[in-house]
Amino acid sequence: MRTGNRVRCALVVGTAAVLATACATSSGTGGSGGEGLPGTVKIMSIKEMTGPVAFAGTHSTRGIDLAVEQINQRKFLGDTKLEIDLHDSAASVQEAASFATQAVSDQSYSAILGPAASSQAAAVSPIADKAKIPVIYTQAGSDGVLVGDYTYRVTAPASSYFHHAGEYLKSKGAKTAAVLYNSGNPTLAELGQETVPQLAKKYGFTVSSSDGVQLTAQDFTNAGAKIARAKPDAVFVLLQGPQNPAAITQLKQNGYSGEIVGMTSMGAGNLKPAGQQAKGTVWPSDFSPHAEVPSVQEFVKAYQAKYNGELPNNYAAEAYDAAWFLARGIKEAGSADRTAIQQGLATVAKQGFEGAEGKLRFEGNDLRVEGVLAGWDGSGEILVSREAS
């Protein structure tokens, strides 16, 4: 029996070095499922369940819950169950960092699903990397988040699929575009200052004006009036969720009638307050529940079945993929050991997989997706282009 076990270990993992840890874990925890895994693998999930970014935290948690339910029901890890321990980091960098150290020092945690806010993630990463525990983030777009082999991000940078916006504007014959962006948010500032100008060069339009607004700006009367007066063919509205409907309302009230292009922050129902006025707004997105990709539709159906028919948004999809990415990594490792999981994740990242966001591949530790062009029809989210696949 002992030799048999060992052979199975060797088959799964392959290298002698990992073999030792994998088998050691399995013998240590007793009651193991197959392939050297313990009965349960415990994961800490650090999410913003309250505070200003609660909408991201709560939806990602739904995505994670769905994925974990599937992983356990389908016996994806054999008899091993995935167990998520959820902690609310609220809006506090310190709390996020503190939860990370708790996960690091408590050997029963095998990995971390990280917070969405860049500032929190940037504080968690050095702790996790130093202690060699894998962390998988969603959102968290800042440069300081991916610091080493142990940090992964399952939200593709918007710049990597923003070409959808360029193609859309080209098809509409847009020659000029104004940019209105949030300068206080790292992701939005980068999109406004770098991505859009590059897009302009490639797709043959000129950036006629570029205005930054502050992180918490609410009043877009002046910005809206200024842009509407200049009458550009298109305007890029790159703002945080709550700012979007206000900015679009002001643009329209000032008589603007050109194209409005946004980013994923327009999704998740954020345009509802603007209603009909936001009709025709489009944004490149890493996820649309209407995309006709089998793996996407499978996710959407399962999500709707679990959550009373509610359509999933990008936060849920990204987190769902993050949880599945982790499960695949664990399966690949055949162990609950942190280093083994990291190597498993690296292998899975090299191969890529299909998930809620469609076809996923990794560049280093960062995700890349095909992306789609989503839009708002006045009352709900729609899919605008299908040439994405």
Partner: protein, 288 residues
């Protein structure tokens, strides 16, 4: 014990950093100076430490020192500029000063990393160092609460006119309280940056003003011990409140409001009253 320490090391670190931050507000308060410039100093310390560590590769204590020096100089200038103000007016001017700094770091370009902030400021600063610095600060401040300096400071707060007339250097003490507050705030900010290896603009905002204020109002504003109580309470409160889940912020608000209404002297004052009441029956006569 060791396992508990390892799991909670971040909270332990931030408790001492919060203590220094609370002291940076409490020291001027004790001299009757309602200055919240310590928050701005925290930002100056945090960013200076990150910049000199990243760009010049300075060792941690040199980086902290640089932040403290810069903050002290700016605090002194601020003391000169704001000399005419007192009470809420001074409080508001110093809040405005702190918030201008937070706008400035977003617009600081390469130097401050803009909205992303700075990251990768790795140093070998240990928890032990932070504790040692905090203890040293507390000992020095505790000494300043005794003897002549202690009486002088109380006089400047309670009756500045009288203090001037008996030869207490009122202006110098007020300026000194600004500078000491600046040193403490910058020290807290710099150490926090080096421990976390990162600093972002959103960390240096109005919420820090609120945190520092609530710590010393709830703890007690007259002594270093009040700041310590406040730092302990507000570091561990979120952990204690974890069971209320999503209503944590609401309970937090209620705690702060109730403390402000019913415990005007802070927890420290409450404890002192309690001790006094225990002792009183032993005294002959007692209260009429």
């Amino acid at each position: 014990m060791i396992a508990w320490y390892e799991a909670n090391v971040v909270l332990i670190q931030s408790m001492f950093i919060s203590l220094l931050l609370a002291l940076s507000i409490q020291v001027p308060f004790r001299a009757g100076v309602f200055s919240l410039a310590g928050i701005g100093s925290y930002g100056i310390g945090a960013y200076t430490a990150a910049i000199v560590t990243l760009q010049l590769g300075w060792p941690p204590f040199a980086a902290i020192g640089a932040g403290m020096l810069l903050a002290a100089v700016i605090a002194y200038l601020l003391a000169l500029v704001l000399a005419r103000l007192s009470g809420l007016y001074l409080g508001m001017a110093t809040i405005a000063y702190s918030l201008i700094l937070s706008v400035a770091v977003i617009n600081g370009g390469e130097l401050t990393g803009g909205a992303q902030g700075l990251f990768g400021a790795v140093s070998d600063l240990q928890t032990g160092h932070v504790v040692a610095v905090a203890v040293a600060a507390v000992v020095l401040l505790a000494l300043s609460e005794r003897g002549r300096p202690g009486r002088w400071i109380d006089a400047v707060r309670e009756d500045p006119e009288l203090a001037v007339s008996v030869g207490v250097p009122v202006t110098a003490i007020r300026q000194l309280s600004f500078v000491v507050g600046g040193l403490l705030g910058a020290c807290a900010g710099a150490m926090n940056t080096l421990l976390r290896t990162t600093v972002t603009p959103e960390e240096v905002g109005f919420h820090l003003v609120v945190l520092a204020l609530t710590m010393i109002i709830v703890g007690g504003s007259r002594s270093w011990a009040g700041a310590l109580i406040g730092a302990v309470v507000f570091t561990w409160l979120p952990t204690v409140l974890a069971f209320v889940g999503e209503w944590q912020t609401l309970v937090y608000g209620v705690v702060v409001a109730v403390a402000a209404i019913f415990v005007p002297t802070g927890i420290l004052g409450l404890a002192q009253d309690f001790v006094r009441r225990l002792r009183r029956p032993a005294l002959p006569g007692g209260r009429p």
